[in-house]
């Protein structure tokens, strides 16, 4: 079914997609003429397929559960923010805060993601085929961030337990983020993640980064700084 945003109101399109009957067989949708609108496909809960033909604005596929959403274009700030499950695949570039605070699901970005990609992520798997901007994975708590290109300044600042894999250069690491050993377990996980994104790059080409865990607890040696 084609939903044309030139003819239909955004709110009615979102309402329709948010209320798909479980028993319905029609579970394939195409949204045409998105024209940079915000919050397209926000709050979907059903296992449906949606393809958006064109560039979208902010918070596309926010809070997604179960749905499989493909964006055939670029996305604005906060794509798949707070996603719980399902899959979001962006064929173009993403703006800042892609996958912010997301608890689960998979976000694939074929192009680049700008600053703060995966900020405060809580379990999502993010695979970026291009590069990411500064402060990516800031305060990231769990899940995986895979970057096939380069990473900007202060990668993984104040990181908790997210694993970060970068193939290219890292401009600088943030506070408490350090390079870690790539064990067999991590190579298997990374291979599986790359496969999800349709990439056959070898895991050996990546470096792994994680938390040094020095900011977890208050360090008594720093008491004079307060």
């Amino acid at each position: 079914m084609i939903l044309d945003l030139k003819k239909l109101k955004l709110r009615s399109v979102n309402e329709k997609l948010q209320n798909i009957d479980r028993k319905k067989n029609k579970r394939d949708f195409v949204i045409s003429n998105p024209e940079g609108n915000h919050a397209i496909c926000a709050g979907l809960t059903e296992n449906i397929d949606v393809t958006i033909k064109g560039h979208v604005g902010y918070y596309c596929a926010g809070m997604n559960q179960n749905a499989n959403i493909i964006v055939d274009g670029n996305v604005g700030t906060g794509v798949a923010e707070n996603m719980m499950s399902g899959k979001v695949h962006v064929k173009g570039n993403a703006s800042q805060s892609a996958g912010a605070t997301a608890h689960g699901g998979t976000l694939i970005i074929d192009g680049d993601a700008s600053s703060r990609c995966g900020i405060s992520m809580k379990g999502i798997d993010i695979i970026v085929k291009g590069s990411v901007g500064h402060m990516s994975a800031f305060m990231a708590q769990s899940g995986n961030l895979v970057v096939c290109g380069d990473a900007g300044e202060a990668l993984g600042d104040s990181l908790y337990e997210t694993d970060i894999y970068v193939k290219g250069k890292v401009k600088s690491l943030g506070a408490d983020c350090e390079e870690k050993k790539m064990s067999k377990k991590h190579k298997i996980k990374l291979k599986e993640l790359l496969k999800k994104a349709g990439s056959n790059i070898k895991p050996e080409q990546f470096k792994r980064y994680g938390s040094a865990r020095k900011l977890y607890n208050f360090n008594i040696d720093n008491v004079s700084n307060y």
């Binding site: 940079g36 609108n37 560039h55 700030t77 703006s95 800042q96 700008s114 901007g133 500064h134």
Partner: protein, 292 residues
């Protein structure tokens, strides 16, 4: 919040439709800035005529025209809503003191190619009021304002022009503008409002006396403290700069015919062939510029 937009035409193909293109961009940025709007449009005249953009405020056009006929060698004087474009071969150092002697009016910009119009009210009303759709030109910059640190007035509206054919629009806020204003005033810069962006515009004009636009903006990275995405226009083109934290958005679309920039992609969705454009976000702390 605020919305900023700009178009630089690489070919002559869209010169006649530049006003219409910018007008739609401004209207779609209404949600980011409903308080006031303004635009600067460049149409390079090859002759030696200067154009002075003036907001009449409470003064009547007839009275103003009469006064100017007495004091200025006029080439043309044209009314557009509450603004006037005064054309003269006389140079700014002669005309500006004359205009400054009238306290009711405000000079919004001057130069050989720039015309500036700005007013309070929603962007859709402002573009209608000045008939932006009918303008042609080579490049143009616009702004929709959500007022934060100074009042909703014409003087508080963007674009700010503090030098010949120069203008600046800004999304963000500066935190060291008071200090900087004092320094610039000592060097002879003049300001007409308490607005932070006017200070940045003054800073750019002051620096352009010694440097080119790219060098000026690079220096601005260390001198201007705060959040910003700037579009700075000159007679030949414009430049874009985001601060290094890059909280304020910007997206650029480039085709073989034009370069467009706006706060959000939706402002550019109507532009010709935009879906095949090269679309990217300007990286923080890097000056991007287009021009001849």
């Amino acid at each position: 919040m605020c919305g900023i937009v700009g178009i630089y035409l690489k070919s002559k193909k869209f010169e006649k439709s530049l006003g219409g293109m910018l007008s739609k961009m401004l209207v779609s940025m209404e949600s980011r800035g409903p308080d006031s709007a303004g635009f600067a449009i460049y149409n390079s005249d090859k002759n030696k005529i200067y154009k002075y953009s003036i907001c009449l405020n409470d003064m009547s056009f007839e009275k103003f025209k009469k006064e100017m006929k007495k004091k200025v060698k006029l080439t043309n004087i044209e009314k557009n809503s509450d603004h006037v474009i005064l054309k003269s071969i006389e140079k700014p150092n002669k005309i500006l003191p004359i205009l400054e002697s009238y306290q009711q009016i405000s000079l919004v910009g001057y130069g050989k190619s720039i015309e500036i119009f700005k007013q309070v009210g929603s962007p859709s009303n402002v573009v209608k009021k000045f008939n932006l759709d009918n303008f042609s030109g080579t490049h143009a910059i616009g702004h929709t304002r959500m007022a934060t640190e100074s009042a909703i007035t014409t003087d508080g509206s963007h674009p700010y022009s503090t030098g010949e054919d120069e203008c600046l629009v800004h999304n963000g806020s500066l935190s060291n503008h008071n200090n900087l204003r004092r320094k610039l005033k000592k060097n002879g810069s003049k300001f007409s409002s308490d607005n932070d962006t006017e200070v940045a515009a003054g800073y750019i004009s002051d620096s352009l006396k010694k440097r080119n636009l790219k060098q000026t903006l690079n220096k601005g990275l260390s001198d201007l403290d705060g959040f910003y995405t700037f579009i700075a226009g000159t007679h030949s083109g414009f430049a874009v700069l985001r601060d290094e934290i890059a909280c304020k958005p910007a997206v650029i679309a480039e085709t073989k015919d034009y370069v467009a920039i706006s706060s959000e992609f939706q402002a550019m969705a109507h532009l010709p062939n935009v879906n095949n454009a090269k679309i990217f976000e300007p990286e923080p702390g890097i000056v991007y510029s287009w021009g001849k």
